[in-house]
C-alpha cells in the first residue's frame, strides 16, 4: 500500500496525527476510544498472522489472550513481581500454549473448520480450568491488581494516571506489530506461510516444511496475542475466566482483520477503526430511543462480517484497491468471452 507517493504522504500525516493526538483530543472519552481501537487492532494483528497470512482460522484466540493476561495478573498480584518483568513470562506463556495447541493440531493434520473448532474447544477447556483452579486464579470472582498510588512510579508499575499514558503504550505496541507483520510479509518465512495458505500440498511439493511454517505462525501469533492480554490487565487491572477465555475476545480478534482485510499489514487497523467508528455512530444515533442498552454495536459487527464475507473477499483494504466480488466476477466473465 505504500507503493505510491500519495499513500506515503497519507501514512506520514496519519502517523504525525497519531503522535500529537493527545494534545488535540482532550476529552477522556475520545482518548479511550482511540485506546480501544488500537488495542483491538493489535489483537486482530495477532490473529491476522495465523489466520490472514497462514489461512489457519482460529475460533479460540482468547486462549492466548487469556494466558498472557493471567500470567501477568498472577505474577504481579501473588508474587509481587514488576510488570515489566512479568510481561516476558506472559509472552512466553502465550508461545508455550500456542506450541502445544499447534503441535497437536498440525501433527494430526487438522485443517479448515476442524482447526477452527479445536481452538474453540481449547479456549473453553482453559476457561473451565481457570474457573476451577481457585487457588491460583481466584476462580470466577477474578484477580484484582493493586492500584499504584505513587504517581512517581506510574511508569515503573506500568499503570498510568491518565489515558495519554495508555494511549502511547498501545500506540507503540500497535506500531511494533505493524512493523513485525510488514517485515514478515517480505521475509522468506512470510512467503512460505502464504504458500501454505494457498495450497499446502503444492507448498510441500516445492520443499516448504508446512508443519514448521505453521508452528512458527501460531507461536508468533500466540506471543502477540498474549501481549494484548498484558495490556488489557494493565489497563483494566482485573482478570476473570470469562474475560480471559470467553468467546468475546476470540470473536473480536477474528472479526477485525476479516473486515479490514485478511493477510494485509493494515487490515486489522482499518477494520478496528471502521468498526469502532461505526459502532459509536450507531450508539449515538440510537441514544435517544435506547439509552445504554448493550448489544447494538455487536449486532452491527455481525451484519458487517457477513456482508464482507459475501462481497469483499479482501475486506476493506480490497475495497480501497477496487477489488470486490461483483467486479472480479465481471472481469472473469470478460476473460471467458475473450477466450471464446
Amino acid at each position: 500500500m505504500t507503493g505510491t507517493m500519495g499513500w506515503r504522504i497519507f501514512w506520514l500525516v496519519l502517523g504525525a496525527l497519531a503522535i500529537v493526538a493527545p494534545w488535540i483530543i482532550t476529552s477522556g472519552f475520545w482518548i479511550n476510544f482511540l485506546i480501544l481501537t488500537l488495542f483491538l487492532a493489535f489483537l486482530g494483528q495477532g490473529w491476522n498472522i495465523m489466520g490472514g497470512y497462514g489461512g489457519q482460522f482460529s475460533f479460540g484466540h482468547a486462549v492466548f489472550f487469556g494466558t498472557g493476561a493471567y500470567i501477568q495478573a498472577i505474577l504481579q498480584s501473588k508474587f509481587g513481581w514488576n510488570p515489566w518483568l512479568t510481561l516476558w513470562f506472559a509472552m512466553a506463556g502465550g508461545v508455550l500454549v500456542a506450541a502445544f495447541i499447534g503441535y497437536l493440531s498440525f501433527r494430526y493434520g487438522l485443517r479448515g473448520s476442524y482447526f477452527a473448532l479445536i481452538t474453540l474447544a481449547f479456549a473453553e477447556a482453559f476457561r473451565v480450568l481457570a474457573t476451577a483452579a481457585e487457588g491460583v486464579t481466584e476462580g470466577g470472582k477474578g484477580i484484582l491488581i493493586a492500584l499504584n498510588q505513587d504517581p512517581e512510579r506510574s511508569f515503573a508499575m506500568m499503570q498510568f494516571a491518565t489515558g495519554t499514558g495508555y494511549y502511547y503504550f498501545i500506540l507503540i505496541l500497535t506500531v511494533l506489530s505493524l512493523v513485525v507483520v510488514w517485515a514478515m510479509e517480505r521475509s522468506r518465512f512470510g512467503a512460505q506461510l502464504v504458500a501454505v495458505r494457498e495450497n499446502e500440498d503444492a507448498a510441500e511439493a516445492i520443499g516448504v516444511n508446512a508443519f514448521r511454517v505453521k508452528m512458527g505462525a501460531i507461536c508468533l501469533s500466540g506471543a502477540m496475542t498474549a501481549l494484548g492480554g498484558v495490556f488489557y490487565v494493565q489497563k483494566f487491572l482485573l482478570m476473570d475466566p470469562n474475560i480471559a477465555y470467553g468467546p468475546t475476545k476470540s470473536v473480536e480478534a477474528l472479526v477485525v482483520p476479516i473486515i479490514g482485510g485478511m493477510g494485509t499489514v493494515f487490515g486489522p487497523l482499518l477494520g478496528s477503526a471502521f468498526l469502532h467508528t461505526m459502532g459509536e455512530i450507531t450508539k449515538e444515533a440510537t441514544q435517544f430511543f435506547w439509552q445504554d442498552r448493550p448489544g447494538l454495536d455487536l449486532i452491527f459487527y455481525g451484519v458487517i462480517l457477513v456482508l464482507v464475507l459475501a462481497f469483499l473477499p479482501n475486506g476493506l483494504v480490497g475495497l480501497i484497491k477496487g477489488q470486490w466480488r461483483g467486479r472480479r466476477q465481471g472481469r472473469a466473465a470478460e476473460r471467458k468471452k475473450a477466450v471464446a
Partner: protein, 291 residues
C-alpha cells in the same frame, strides 16, 4: 470411592439430559450431512426458540410441551428462510468462510436477544415440575422424563420421515450426490432449505423440552453449540445413529464428570472429549469420512 447407587443415579440423570443433547445434535448433523455446512448459529437458534417457548408460557400461559409443535414449525420456517435468503447467497468458497458466515449470524442473533431481552435469566416454572417417579436410586421429575421421552419419539419420527417419505428420500439423495440429484429433477436449493429448516425445527423442539430446566439467557446458545459440536464429532459428522448415541454418551459423561471432579471442573469433560476425538478419531464412532 463412590457408592455404586450414586454413580447409577448420575448415569440415569445424564441419560435424560443426553437425549435432549442428541436432539439438538441431530439437527446439526442433518445440516452438515446435506449441506456440508458446520452451522455455528445452531446454538443461537436454540436460544431464540427457548425465548419463544418462554414468552408463550409467560405471556400466553401456554405449556411448553403444548407449544412444542408450534415452536418447531416456527423454527422450521425461520431455518428455511435463513438458508434461502442469507446462507445460500453468502456461502461461497472454502468451508471456513461458511463457518464464519454462520458465526456472523450467531453474533447478530445473540446480541439482538441481549438487546431486546437483556441478560436476565428466565425460567419456566411448571406447576407440576416437582412431580415424578422414584426409581429408588434417584428421583426423576416430569421435565426430565418428558425431555427424554419426547426426544426419543422425535428422533424416531425423523428417522421414519427420512426413510419413508419422498422428501426424505430426496434429502438423502442430495446428501449423497448433489449433481446426480439435480439431474433426476430434484430441486436441490429447495431440499437444502428444507434440510436447514428441519435441522432448525429439531432445535425448536429441543428448546421447549429444555426451557423448564435450563434458565434462558442470550449466552446459553454458546454452551449448547459446544455440546452439540462435541456430540456430532463424537458420533461422526452426518450420522443419525451417531448423534443419538453421542448425545447419550455426552450427557452421561457430563453428569458423571460432575460427580467425580465437582460441578465446575466436571464441565471440562465435554471439551476434552471434543479435543481428543478431533485429534485421534476425526471420523467419530459412526462417521464414514471427514476431511
Amino acid at each position: 470411592m463412590y457408592d455404586f447407587s450414586i454413580i447409577l443415579a448420575s448415569v440415569i440423570n445424564g441419560t435424560m439430559t443426553g437425549a435432549v443433547y442428541a436432539l439438538v445434535a441431530l439437527g446439526l448433523t442433518l445440516i452438515y450431512g446435506v449441506l456440508h455446512i458446520i452451522n455455528f448459529a445452531h446454538g443461537s437458534m436454540l436460544m431464540v426458540a427457548m425465548y419463544a417457548a418462554f414468552f408463550l408460557f409467560a405471556a400466553g400461559g401456554i405449556d411448553p410441551y403444548v407449544a412444542l409443535p408450534l415452536v418447531a414449525a416456527l423454527a422450521f420456517a425461520f431455518g428455511y428462510a435463513l438458508q434461502r435468503s442469507v446462507i445460500s447467497k453468502t456461502s461461497h468458497g472454502r468451508d471456513e468462510i461458511i463457518l464464519l458466515v454462520t458465526l456472523g449470524i450467531s453474533i447478530v442473533i445473540e446480541n439482538a436477544a441481549l438487546f431486546f431481552f437483556t441478560s436476565n435469566e428466565r425460567l419456566v416454572t411448571l406447576p407440576y415440575d416437582i412431580e415424578g417417579i422414584d426409581l429408588g436410586v434417584t428421583f426423576l421429575v416430569v421435565p426430565q422424563l418428558a425431555a427424554f421421552g419426547a426426544s426419543l419419539v422425535i428422533t424416531f419420527l425423523l428417522w421414519l420421515f427420512m426413510a419413508r417419505t419422498d422428501t426424505g428420500k430426496a434429502i438423502r439423495a442430495v446428501a449423497k450426490e448433489r449433481l446426480g440429484a439435480r439431474l433426476v429433477g430434484i430441486n436441490v436449493d429447495h431440499i437444502f432449505a428444507i434440510s436447514f429448516g428441519i435441522g432448525t425445527a429439531c432445535v425448536g423442539a429441543a428448546a421447549c423440552l429444555l426451557v423448564p430446566t435450563f434458565p434462558v439467557t442470550p449466552q446459553i446458545g454458546y454452551v449448547f453449540v459446544l455440546i452439540a459440536f462435541t456430540v456430532v464429532v463424537l458420533g461422526g459428522m452426518g450420522s443419525f445413529v451417531g448423534a443419538l448415541i453421542g448425545g447419550l454418551i455426552i450427557g452421561i459423561a457430563e453428569s458423571v464428570g460432575g460427580l467425580f471432579f465437582g460441578e465446575t471442573l466436571g464441565k471440562i469433560s465435554i471439551s476434552l472429549i471434543f479435543i481428543l476425538v478431533l485429534l485421534f478419531r476425526p471420523t467419530g464412532l459412526f462417521g464414514q469420512r471427514l476431511r
